[in-house]
Amino acid sequence: MDPKAFRPPARVMIVAGKGGVGKTTVSAALAYCAASAGLETLIVEAEGKSGLTALFDRREPLGYQELVLSEPGQAGPGSAGLRARTLTPDDALVEYLEDHGLRRISKRLSATGTLDVVATAIPGIKDILVLGKVKQLEALSASRADGAPEFIVVDAPAAGHAVSFLASPFGLLDAAAVGPIRTQAADVIALLSDPERCQVMLVTMPEETPVNEAADTAFHLEDRTGVKLAPIVVNGLWPHLDLPGDTGGALLRAGAALDDSDLAALDRAAEFRRQRQKLQDAQVARLADMLPLEQLKLPYLFTTELGRSEVVTLSASLVEQLVRLRP
């Protein structure tokens, strides 16, 4: 599959899912798709802490300043650069106050705990500020400003928080917050309501609780935000193996001889894999029943640690499936 076949579904893709399902890995793979296709890409890490840099074989932690994870040309001929930065709620709040003439006292606001008071008095203010900043980046992107990213991937806060994170502008509008915050909320709602500008990609795993939570999150997002849901990623699917039903017979037919304990290990391992496959097939089917979204399936990778080469593998799989889904 030609990586150039990738077309971003929207300028901003918010990747959401519960902790441990591989949200950051999917964000990295999706961003890599875009960079390979020649789009300047930015990953925004909303949680601060993540293993994102390790996925690109880097050791330095991610910070507020953009870090280049892949240089132009590094992800194949004609590929664009891939950058990443954090954008935590605290970063966003401080930046917002500074932008509004409080730069001089922002340290004192923080030291006296006044920021905590403000954030408590206006629940959702930090979320709206993170989203407001994303909207600012998206506006740069739309205007094709120099050096602006053409595709933005937001690695969202862990689920549970994902709904309140994305619903924050609606809550703030209802609460009739004043002035700049209210404008900010309205702008973010405009962003979330336009599927060309922004979509949400949910990530889950083929297990009972993650499937339930993904479905819950999807329904809540539709009810409370109206944001368009991209295909859902089912991550960590064990590749299907055609295992013979009779381990001993298969070995016999192949003329291989094993002692009893090796044979028993092989047989128990096969039984375990069959169970696992059955379980994940059932969960994938259940997800399809519960949620009328296209599914993108990513394989479980057996390697010790995920790094750049695994991101490349996963991104190739994503491109192929996304192209197939395209009408």
Binding site: K18, V118, A121, G160, V178, G179, W238, D242, T304
Partner: protein
């Protein structure tokens, strides 16, 4: 008797800590059930149980008061009680208990800033979990209280929560502002006034008004909060209290568990047992007999691929466990296998209990 069963029998308080999504609630419920099975009156405080487990424990609604669980076929000499923490109600109770008068309590409970605290101020849920634990402990109704800690990003947030809340309640800026009569503080008050005007301009005057009203209503209550926080810290360091760290054999979960263990090391509290949940079984490496001349049969190739895949997973998980074990020398490790279905009834808890408390069944991992 296994180390974990011993805790269920001997301790008064067991705190299950660890990152989210590793089965902490299940583990806490199983420990309380084991306590009940062994004759104790046990209560599990859950934070956010998956719905079916909540149903199994009879926790359809937030009661915030312990509720006796019908153990049915699992009944033993003891009792199992459960409650699902209601942060807001717990906080309300704390306010009422500490308030000097009904009016003071009402002024706080009705304040808009206060009404947002339990939902919006980080660490409040953790603080209230500890508050509830202390309440249940001091009432003496139970022999054993098992607490499931909130699934925070950093599992140790509940250790910091009391301090964090106290800092919030002692907000220096607002405290100065609401004391205009203390003439000596006027000068500082002026600078603060200017600051508040700026805040009003950017986020609205209501924020400042609500905050002033809240902190003024709160006047005189902080000592009660402070004393209580100290007593909670004492309880956490008590020899009758045990910390159980629950983790999964994943890089992120292990990193958080290590962080937590390092943090606890500085305090009097100790990690008594480490539970590694959801481990894949190991079936051993490829049989050497087949190593070189692998027969060209797709069936056999699939069998071998499978064994190699599983061996790789097991190897990686063991590496993660080893990294964690190294940071917790001398702490017993209990490994629980990946069970194909989620735990959502008492039978399921009993099944997990066989791994948690007994010698593990022979047929799988050794």
């Amino acid at each position: 008797m296994s180390a974990l069963a011993q805790l269920a029998v001997e301790r008064q308080t067991v705190i299950c800590a660890g990152p989210g999504g590793v089965g902490k609630t299940t583990c806490a419920a199983a420990i309380a059930l084991e306590g009940a099975r062994l004759g104790r009156r046990a209560c599990v405080v859950t934070i956010d149980p998956a719905k079916r487990l909540a149903d199994a424990l009879g926790l359809e609604v937030l009661t915030n008061e312990p509720h006796r669980v019908d153990l049915q076929r699992n009944a033993g000499p003891g009792e199992l009680w459960a409650l699902m923490l209601d942060t807001k109600t717990t906080f309300d109770d704390v306010v009422r208990r500490n308030a000097g008068s009904d009016e003071q309590a009402r002024a706080i409970l009705e304040n808009r800033l206060y009404r947002n605290i339990s939902g919006a101020l980080g660490g409040t849920q953790e603080y209230m979990a500890m508050e509830k634990l202390y309440e249940l402990h001091s009432e003496g109704r139970f022999d054993l209280v098992v607490v499931d800690t909130p699934p925070t990003r950093h599992a140790l947030e509940f250790l910091d929560a009391p301090d964090r809340l106290l800092r919030f309640l002692n907000n220096r800026l607002f405290r100065l502002l609401m004391l205009p009569t203390r003439a000596g503080l006027r000068a500082i008050g002026m600078a603060s006034q200017a600051m508040l005007r700026s805040i009003s301009r950017v986020v609205g005057g209501a924020v400042v008004t609500d905050a002033m009203a809240f902190f003024s209503a709160f006047e005189g209550m902080e000592q009660g909060f402070r004393d209580r926080a100290t007593r909670v810290q004492t309880l956490l360091a008590d020899p009758g209290t045990a910390f159980v760290v629950v983790a999964a054999p994943r890089r992120d979960a292990v990193a958080e568990a290590i962080y937590f263990a390092d943090r606890l090391r500085g305090s009097a509290a100790r990690v008594e047992t480490l539970v590694i949940n959801r481990m894949f079984p190991s079936f051993g490496p490829l049989p050497t007999a087949l190593g070189a001349g692998t027969p060209e049969s797709p069936e056999v190739a699939a069998l071998l691929t499978n064994l190699r895949d599983l061996d790789q997973v097991a190897g990686r998980e063991e590496q993660h466990v080893a990294a964690l074990a190294e940071r917790l020398p001398g702490v017993p490790i209990v490994k629980v296998p990946f069970l194909s279905d989620d735990i959502h009834d008492l039978e399921g808890l009993t099944a997990v209990g066989r791994w948690l408390f007994g010698p593990p069944p022979e047929e799988l991992r050794t």
